[in-house]
Amino acid sequence: MKRKFTMMALVVSLACFSSVASAFDLGKFLEDRINQETNKDKAAQPAPAQPSATTQSAAAKVPPANQKIDVQQLGFALFGDYSIEEENRIGRQISGNLLGAVPLVRDDTLQRYVNLVGNWVALQSGRKDITWRFGVLDTEDINAFAAPGGYIFVTKGLYRLLNNEAELAGVLGHEIAHVTKKHHLKVLKQSSLIGALGQVASSKAQNSDQLVQNLIGNGAEIMARGLDKNAEYEADRVGMVFAARAGYEPWGLPEVLQDMAALPAKDARTSLLFKTHPLPADRLAMLGESVDGRFDALQGKDVANRFYRIR
């Protein structure tokens, strides 16, 4: 964290000398903003579970000292928001990399089914600018992933744990919530503060895919890094609500969490999941605090009869 700040201070001082910064004291202004961002960053990442994630990515992205600073790019990192096109490009790159590590299950009926359930749940999210894509990954690992722009993946191992459509809706709801709440984009924005130091910025010559790749790091490592705990808790709350709004019984996601809680602790299929997520017991407890009696009157459906089972 300290190193990151020092680096940012370096950018700011460099930015001061650039011709763009002549109109007003841009350097001072940016310094204030960076201080804000850095402190926010500190507050958002107290999780002792993954202490090295941010610093690692920061260290990996240290650009050569003599590289040019693109003030526009830096400005974006501090104030900007990703457009839907950028969001899509980022999600496409992450997803293409993830699929390089794990292919999709070759079962059209399964994949169409998951897309139908997923789109119906996503329709309740209010985000209409997205083409949602859902895929079941051919691995026995128990996990699910979301990438910006509406890319959602569930592993075959997780799918096997499911007992009805409401549980699938709950899992997909959680992942859809990561997209609508832009959790990954927030993480990327923090690391793009460092990327803006020039590596990403001196880009006219590079193609845009390379640019995006620089932003997301190596391969699909962003998926191995995980998100802030609070982002996971938020996705649980929001995902439950999306599934309930879609007419499903809201208990699908908690039931899947119960199944995960009951798995043997040393099961290799959950090692990445439990590395990147709070433990199921904590997630259930947090949901319990929020839900309390609020869903007592809901009459959702579990839609067990048409749930598509895989061999």
Binding site: L123, G135, A231, A246, G247, S290
Partner: protein, 176 residues
């Protein structure tokens, strides 16, 4: 009459579930146990955070449990499947049994397989072919709506859930 039938069926289910599928659970917060799966039912007892219960059956957002001498219904979100300390992932060997209706044999069949790891994700190379495959399964909004109505699923108005009162530092994700 219908009501009696349903309760009789539920009872039967409970009995068979209790016989075949009783599973250990751990209480996640101080909570009441009710005589029926409803917070307006009579309170049959209470349990403290960390207490062990035996899960007998599940109905909606409720679990039928035995805690000491008390048997009754507790909120699904106030218990986690598995026993042991609250910090652990749980050491269940029956995969939630009563709570999940899972067929344990399915799970046993795949146990021992390895999971994904950081290194393979880091090394992953962009696969355009798989991405194109993904696009072939995209469905339209109207297809999704038709699919929902086929199972009589209709959109329901459900307000957002509040953030739980922060135990320590508040989340910055909301304000961010």
């Amino acid at each position: 009459m219908k009501r009696t039938l349903i309760s009789a069926a539920t009872l039967l289910l409970c009995v068979s579930a209790a016989a075949a599928l009783a599973a250990p659970g751990t209480v996640l917060r101080d909570e009441k146990i009710y005589g029926q799966p409803s917070s307006s039912a009579a309170v049959a007892g209470s349990v403290a955070k960390g207490a062990s219960v035996n899960i007998l059956a599940k109905e909606g957002g409720w679990l039928r449990v035995t805690a000491g001498k008390t048997t009754g219904w507790i909120r699904l979100l106030s218990v986690r499947a598995g026993e042991g300390s609250l910090g652990g992932t749980g050491v269940g060997d029956v995969v939630g049994a009563a709570t999940t209706r899972s067929d344990p044999s399915r799970v046993v069949a795949v146990a021992g397989l390895r999971g994904l790891n950081d290194e393979e994700l880091k090394q992953a190379k962009f696969n355009a072919g798989e991405l194109a495959q993904l696009d072939t399964w995209v469905v339209t909004v109207s297809q999704a709506k038709t699919f929902a109505s086929q199972a009589s699923l209709a959109a329901v108005s459900v307000p957002a859930l509040p953030e739980p009162k922060p135990a320590k530092a508040p989340s910055s994700w909301e304000s961010n």
